[in-house]
Structure formats: structure tokens, C-alpha cells
Symmetry: C2
Subunit: 356 residues, 2 copies
DNA sequence: GCCAGTTCTGCAATCGTTTGCATCAATGTT
DNA sequence: AACATTGATGCAAACGATTGCAGAACTGGC
């Protein structure tokens, strides 16, 4: 069917081994035959069969990225980054969707090693630590976004404590004292870390932590909505809400719209993680960017390093943190009318239609 | 490193060939040895090496899905559907991102056949027809969402003419006579087809086509915004806008919000293709659902059929159309106060906050 | 012109499977 | 009891590459 090394060798009247050596450039062939063979190979349209090669070398030029889903915008950009990087190095990315489900993750993992992938970047569910640990002996693995505490795998994390801190501090600097927090489950790292960043910012500013302002849960939009309602129904509702979980954002926005609450005039809103439509929303929604792009790039860097280092890429570092970044748009407003009357960055919004 | 067939054979004191036959269940071994070998294989934790097997059989149990990007919500659900289906059949999905770029598509395609994929579902750019045609000789291929006119590949398409027709008719039935259309480039199939559906609905209803109401272009949100502005700035602006291109929706929504136009009171809005946040938007946005889920499922069906039929799965059918569906939410409103005063499905919105 | 040293090339084994063919034992037939 | 038939097994050759080892060809020094 397709042209094999044998065909090339025959056409060039040399042995297969010579052909192989010439084409892989081992430097063990004469300059002349090398050139002649590359030419002939090109003419014949020879493309090495990665399967055959893989059988012999134990490599596949396949690198897998295992994420929970593709609806999460962060995972999308990560996938695109990883794909682009790998492709440039002549690897194929195997994108797998694990659905944040232990069983599915486990199945996928075994299939992947069966296929002799050369490397793996995984967003672990945290429930297959033992398996990951075993696999790590055979394949370079880098964890992304989440840590699996049962392993000591190299892990690239977003700096959630810092991100939450940055966001909260921003709101405080705008004069907010009662800041609602809608955050993820406290049995996830990110849930805990984002809460801690929030708390730290409050403490530094000397603002007492008010537990009625903090809502944590396993988030889907519905939960985001109900948390948001609870916050707004408070006797003294917050002047700003920090939605530190992107799933919850949809629900919160909905409730805010339903109640005709004007952002940022009546309420400031800050979200964690970007979504492509946030900047097209009106008002454009300010966010804390978790740095998905940087995360993906760093993960690829680390993985490649491990893959090169053949078994011992252990630089001692176990954990990398990628800095978060505040992206100010129009959904947060300065409120302390008394002390600092200077107009905030965000525009006055709604009232007069901005002719464009 | 890992357990090979030889190990199993040795442990069972049979030859490798017997082991192979027993484990692949060719029926050429005695019941007893078959059971004994499966047991031993399980005990030893034997997992067949797909690479070695692939080398011999020419198969890889890899099926590729090549899409343009992952930001498009339709592609996301398609990817998830394809992955789920394939997985159930013990195939691994290779998800590739082609970026709607001819060169990248071409590169990816060659890498994929190099890896001896067993099948391919591709959203073609339309610029590598020749290549696709050649590859189709080696690998079963099904085109998805777009047709490549240079080939005669089996293609699963959304029924865009019907979808656009349905949407437009819906608006007409609600009493709208001036319906703005924001649609994709006319050199794409979907662009043309959606326009034609719109025109047909108009004609059927005896409404004259007004070219000032139709805007087509290569869409990014910015273009969507400018088209929307043009429509709203018309001396007699439309009472409804049909955004028949999902990229454009963001921009349109933005302009509408900027100008403080109330939906659906001042303007009805209908979009093509769903986005996860559409139903969380306030008002929830009515859409024409292109049936991404069904498309993906059908594409998988056809591909599997071809893969089974080994070379001749040609049933004569070249093109499959998956019906579109109207999903009424709250962004379209009945307007002919005179003839049919019955209140529309959509609620009155804005004015009084709906306590929830 | 011969020999040691260096390059280059080819033979053949190997990776882990599958599979055509031959062998062999067990069974049934006469 | 001899023979044909069936069913289970093993041997060995593939699949398409890589690679250790040995031999061939060339180089230069004497």
C-alpha cells in the first residue's frame, strides 16, 4: 500500500539497514549515500511507519492530554496550546475527556499506556493516585491544575490563593467592605485555596470575616444561582460579589438580571477564569485570569524536560505555580463616596445609551 | 517491562500462537485451554500491545476527529459525543484541531494516516479535497458539517436551509415583517444555505425580500456588532433580528445591550446554534438548534458502517441531513397587536423584577 | 605492495503480535 | 485394526522499522 523502507532501499540498491541509517541521520553513512537516499525517499514519497518504529523503539510520538471536559473554557485554551506546542515538535496530541469521573479516568489511563504514549499531561480527579503512581514509572507524567495528593508527581498549578487574594484586594481597594464569595467545594484544592486568598485579603485590610457572606458548594449554574440569591437576600447584602467558580457564574448572572440589579452601579461583580463572551457582555465582566495559557505552556515545558531526561528529570521541584492576573473590565465600581470620590475605572453604564 | 504474550504462553506452557488464538477468541482452541489462558492472562495482568498488533493487522483502534477549534460550542458537544461512542467500542479518539487552516489540515491528515488510524471524521476546510480523496482509498472517512466539493465523500450535514427556514418562519408567525439577517460568508455552504432558508420563508409568507436587512460576512464578534449596528441604524429598523452565525451573536448582543434595547420588548432576537450560557442569559435566548449531538452520532454511525464494510460501505447515499429544531426561549415576542393580541410565550421581562 | 586503521555497508536478530501451514492426537468409520 | 476425519496445537514467517556485530572497502604509512 504505502512506500516502505524496503522499497526505498531497493530503489537505491542498498540494504534496508543502510537506508534506515541514512534516513534517520545516525551519521554512520557516507555523505553521498545519505543525500542520495533522502532524495530517493522524497521522490518515492516515503513516510516512516510510526507503528513499526514504535514497536522497536517503544515510542509512539503520541502525547496525551487528559482533561475533565471541553465546556470549561480554560481546558479549551489549554488543549489548543498543548496541541500547538506538541505539533511543532512532531508529536501528535491525544486529547481525552475524562469527565472528572474516577472510573473513566482509570480506563482512559490504561488505554493510553497500552498505546505506549510518550508522555501525559493530566488533570487528575484525585481518585486514581495509586494508578498514576504506577504509570509514572513507565511514562513521564505532569499533573495540571489539580494535584493528586496520593502521588508525588510534578504538578503545575494555578496560583489560586494569590488569584483570590488579588481579586478580593481589588474589591477592597474599590472601597467594598461587604464582599460576598461564591466558591467551590472545600474538599477540592482550588475551593480551599480560593477561600484562603479571600480570607487573607480581608484580614490584611482589617475587615472582619463574615461567614454569612461565604457560600461554598459543588457547583453547577443552579447552585451558583441559589448562592447568589442567598447573598442578595441577606439583611445587609454585599456591595460586591466575587464568584470564584466559573460554573457558578452563569447562575449568578441570571439571578442578577432577574432582579434587575444594575452592574456595577448596584453591585460589583468579579469572576474567576475568563470566558470568551465575558468581554462581550455588557457590562464587560472583570475577572481574575488563572493564566490557562501559561499553565499549559509550563506543563508542556516540564513534560518535555522529563521526556528528554529519560527517567530522571527529577529536578527536585514538585510544584510549579503560575501567577494569576487581574483583568479589569467594567463590572466593578468604586463605592466609598465619602473618602475617595474619584470616579472609578468602570463607566457609568446603563442610563444613557453609549452611541457607538 | 510489561507482560507480553510470550510470558503468558510460558506460564501456561503452550506456544505463543496458541496463546494468541485463545485470547483473541478465534474459536480455534479448545474450550479448556481458552479458559485457562484467559485466567492466566488476567492473573499476570497481560494487556495486548496495540502497537505490535497494529503492525501486523494494519489497524490501530484509533479514530480521529478533526475539527476547526474547540471554542465553537457545537464542536465541543460533537467531540464529547464521538469520544463517548468510540470509547464504548474500545476505540481511542484522536481529537485534532485544524484551525480551519488548509496547511494545518493537510499536515494533520498525513500524520494521522501515518499513524494508521482506522477511521476519520473531519470537518473539512474544503481546501484539501485532492488529499482527502487519496486518503479515502486507505481509510474510511466521513465529512461532518461541511462538504468538500472536490470529493465525493460521505457527508453528514446540518439541514441549514430548513433550520433557517424554521427560524424565519417562527419570527413571521409571531407577526414580524421586517426581519434582519446576520449571516455567514456567502462562499461557505452554511452561509448560502441559511440565507436561502430565510428567503424561502419570506417568499412563502409573501413578504418582499429587503436587501438592506441582510448582512453577510466573515464573522468574528466585531463584524457581528457592526452588522447589528447597521441594522439598528436603518431608517426603518427591523423588529426582529436572526443572527444566523454563532460567532456574530456575541457582537450583536453587545450592541443591543449598549443601546439599552430591551429584548424581546423592543426587538426580538433569534440565534443559530446553542451556547451553554444562552439559557442562562436573561432573557433566555431562543435558538435554532443545528442538532450537533445528532450530527455527531450519525457521523459515528456512518463511519462505523464504513469501517465494518471494509472498503465497500458505499450504500449510494452521499449526503445525510440532520434536521434542525427550533428551541423557543424568551427572546422572541409576538408583535402584531392588532390581529392577534394573545400574549406571546416570552414573559414581559425587565420592568418589574421577577422575585425568584 | 602490504598491513593497520578507519569508514561504510550488509546480515540477521529483534520488538510483540497474528496467521498459514504442518503436525499430531483423538475420534469415528468401516 | 487400519484409515480418514476432525480439532487442537506448534513452527515459523510475516508486519516495518532499528541496531549490534562482522565483513568489505577504502585510506594512508611504511
Amino acid at each position: 500500500m504505502s512506500v516502505t523502507l524496503k522499497d526505498v532501499a531497493q530503489a537505491a540498491r542498498v540494504s534496508v539497514s543502510t537506508a534506515s541509517r541514512a534516513l534517520t541521520g545516525t551519521g554512520l553513512t557516507s555523505e553521498r549515500t545519505q543525500q542520495r537516499l533522502t532524495r530517493i525517499a522524497r521522490e518515492l514519497g516515503y513516510r516512516p511507519n510510526p507503528i513499526a518504529r514504535g514497536l522497536k523503539t517503544g515510542q509512539s510520538r503520541l502525547v496525551a492530554l487528559l482533561v475533565h471536559n471541553l465546556t470549561n473554557a480554560s481546558f479549551q485554551v489549554m488543549a489548543e496550546v498543548v496541541q500547538a506546542r506538541l505539533k511543532a515538535l512532531n508529536y501528535q496530541m491525544l486529547l481525552c475527556i475524562g469527565g472528572d469521573d474516577a472510573q473513566q479516568e482509570s480506563d482512559t489511563l490504561t488505554t493510553l499506556v497500552d498505546h505506549r504514549i510518550d508522555g501525559l499531561i493530566v488533570v487528575p480527579t484525585g481518585k486514581n493516585g495509586a494508578q498514576l503512581k504506577t504509570l509514572a514509572k513507565d511514562v513521564p507524567i505532569v499533573c495540571l491544575v489539580r494535584r493528586d495528593d496520593a502521588t508525588d508527581l510534578e504538578t503545575v498549578l494555578a496560583d489560586d490563593p494569590q488569584g483570590a487574594y488579588l481579586g478580593t484586594r481589588h474589591l477592597i481597594e474599590l472601597g467594598h467592605k461587604r464582599i460576598g464569595l461564591i466558591v467551590g467545594r472545600q474538599d477540592t484544592t482550588s475551593g480551599r485555596e480560593r477561600l484562603s486568598g479571600y480570607v487573607r485579603a480581608l484580614r490584611e485590610a482589617g475587615i472582619a470575616k463574615d461567614d454569612t457572606l461565604i457560600h461554598a458548594g459543588h457547583f453547577v449554574p443552579e447552585t451558583g444561582a441559589s448562592c447568589c440569591r442567598k447573598l442578595l437576600d441577606l439583611p445587609r447584602p454585599p456591595s460586591a460579589i466575587f464568584v470564584a467558580n466559573h460554573e457558578a457564574t452563569l447562575g449568578a448572572l441570571r439571578v442578577i438580571a432577574e432582579r434587575n440589579i444594575a452592574i456595577p452601579d448596584d453591585l460589583s461583580l468579579l469572576c474567576y477564569e475568563d470566558m470568551p463572551w465575558f468581554e462581550w457582555h455588557r457590562p464587560a465582566i472583570s475577572i481574575v485570569d488563572n493564566g490557562a495559557r501559561d499553565l499549559a505552556n509550563l506543563a508542556v515545558d516540564r513534560l518535555l524536560h522529563r521526556m528528554d531526561a529519560k527517567g530522571n528529570g527529577n529536578d527536585g521541584v514538585r510544584e510549579y505555580r503560575v501567577g494569576a492576573r487581574l483583568v479589569q473590565r467594567d463590572s466593578c465600581r468604586r463605592i466609598d463616596a465619602a473618602s475617595k470620590p474619584k470616579s472609578p475605572k468602570s463607566k457609568s453604564s446603563a442610563a444613557k445609551p453609549a452611541k457607538v
